[in-house]
Amino acid sequence: MIAATGLTRRFGSMSVVDDVSFEVSRSEIVALLGPNGAGKTTTLRMLGGLIAPTSGSVMIDGVPLTRATGTILRQRIGFLTESPGLWDRLTVRENLAVYAGLYTVSNARRAIDRVLDILELTDRATTRAAELSKGLRQKVALARTLLHEPQILLLDEPTSGLDPEVTRVVRRLLDERRAAGCAILLSTHNLDEAERLADRVAVLQRRLVAIAPPAVLRRRLTTGRVFVRVTGEPAAYLNTVRVFDSSATVEAGGIAVTLGAPDRDTPPLVRALVAAGADVLEVRSEIPPLEDVYLHLMKAESRS
């Protein structure tokens, strides 16, 4: 649904986004991760048709995003900006009504009622935006993004600064939109969120450092350490295990073993233990958290 090819943006001589290519498909959430100034917002703005790339191209549903097609294509996109950007003197309903008009939504009243209901804002409909908390403002901004039922969502830090309750509402909502077939690209600093929500994670540091499902990224940094818990005394099985790793040790009531290729070596290890009479309770591959992977990638990128 969204395809960025060789996307580059320079401001003067400074390159903010450099040769970034990726796609976001229907029913997929891709999380853009990167430090401040990595080009996340600029990338989202280019994909949303707010600014033009210096070079490269964006395709939305197979249509090139240009100045000429921008107006039509923006109708298909729901763009959540970094700041909620509500008109303070207008009520929640009035804010949404203006946007319903801007997106030429038919039966605006029903559409507004629908998004108010989805985001649990119905009782706030007549509250002026100025009187809303930060979390509620963000919810209204999200409601505004969904008003015209876009098939593409571009979300700039949708849960930034929100309390856990509102964050959960937003995450549930994104899950629902994905299930409904939306292509969703969100930028976030929250690695836990990226891991929970995203089908793929794109690590950006001006250029695309990596893009893959979170599990695949984590496996890239795997240490190969596997922890096996058995009934009885683990030390009794050390000799069996040391066939696979001569330095295997007993740790925390189990056996810690380092395998050259965990995916390949774990099944024979388990078979060997069972053959040796062990009752295997748990086999856990020690995979680093996404945070470690992210920091590793950033460090490697800054070295290069």
């Binding site: 401001f11 703005r45 949303g48 048709g49 707010l50 600014i51 033009a52 107006t71 039509i72 923006r74 109708q75 996109i77 763009f79 900006t81 970094e82 700041s83 909620p84 950007g85 509500l86 008109w87 303070d88 003197r89 207008l90 009035e94 009504a97 203006v98 946007y99 319903a100 008009g101 801007l102 997106y103 030429t104 002026r128 901004a141 505004r144």
Partner: protein, 264 residues
């Protein structure tokens, strides 16, 4: 059209919630109403000297012609009420300048511009909605003031003056010159608002726009400029053309990217 209407609705709602922003327009309208009434009706009544007895006024007011058999005093009143009518219609624009100058830069400062630009709204729709958001309330206030202006004239002016006022010239001034001048001045302010990055600068530049209007008014009161209904209609047509041109210019100079990426 739907998008233009939607944004215009926002502008008007915003003004309704913050009527203080229209206070300058209201004050200028009140002043424009009080000033001719004091000069044409109250001062002569208080001093006991009819305006028609002033040789200079009698001389400049000859420009209005016979005025349908008006007395000398009636001719002077007709001249002054006609001249003040122009003031009445043009000066509220000065009050609305701040409104228009704030239109784009205000959205940017309130951080409401980016979500707006992310919608399918086109630049002409955005800019025309912004100018109408400043013009319509200004014209509405002017219309109320105008009703009051003619009510007082019909009650307190010399017999025959109200009938002489109700001519083509008055209609052209009210319905053509006033709105077209407002559109030109406020669209210029919108152009400025799209190019500067803070509201104060926009307002300072906006003040410059009222200078030609002031020049026109001074020329009128000196009696050196009396425009017929036909000439005024041509001026209104010219101003409408200038407005269309200004819309084109404002669209051309409205740099979405620069506004989003360089304005802080």
């Amino acid at each position: 059209m739907t998008r233009l209407r939607a944004l215009l609705m926002k502008e008007l709602l915003d003004l309704r919630r913050n009527p203080a922003t229209l206070l300058p327009v209201l004050l200028v309208t009140v002043l424009s109403f009080v000033l001719p009434m004091v000069i044409v009706l109250i001062v002569p009544a208080v001093t006991g000297r009819a305006l028609g007895t002033d040789a200079d006024l009698a001389k400049v007011s000859a420009i209005v012609g016979e005025g349908g058999g008006l007395s000398q005093n009636g001719r002077v009143q007709l001249f002054l009420f006609q001249q003040f009518l122009m003031l009445f219609l043009l000066t509220p624009i000065t009050g609305a300048m701040a409104l228009a100058a704030h239109a784009v830069v205000g959205e940017k400062q309130a951080r409401t511009l980016e979500p707006l630009l992310a919608t399918p709204i086109t630049t002409p729709e955005l800019l025309v909605a912004k100018v109408l958001g400043a013009v319509l309330p200004t014209m509405a206030i002017s219309a109320i003031g105008l009703a009051l202006y003619f009510t007082v004239i019909s009650v307190a002016a010399e017999p025959g003056v109200p009938r002489a006022m109700a001519g083509w010239r008055t209609l052209v001034v009210i319905f053509l010159v006033g709105p077209s001048a407002a559109l030109v001045a406020l669209q210029t302010a919108i152009v400025i608002s799209s190019r500067v990055n803070d509201a104060r600068t926009a307002q300072q530049f906006g003040v410059l726009i009222v200078l030609p209007l002031m020049g026109l008014l001074i020329a009128q009161f000196s009696g050196s400029l009396w425009l017929s209904a036909g000439t005024l209609a041509l001026i209104a047509l010219g101003l409408s053309g200038v407005w269309v041109l200004l819309v084109v210019v404002s669209v051309a100079v409205f740099d979405r990217e620069a506004i989003l990426t360089r304005w802080k």
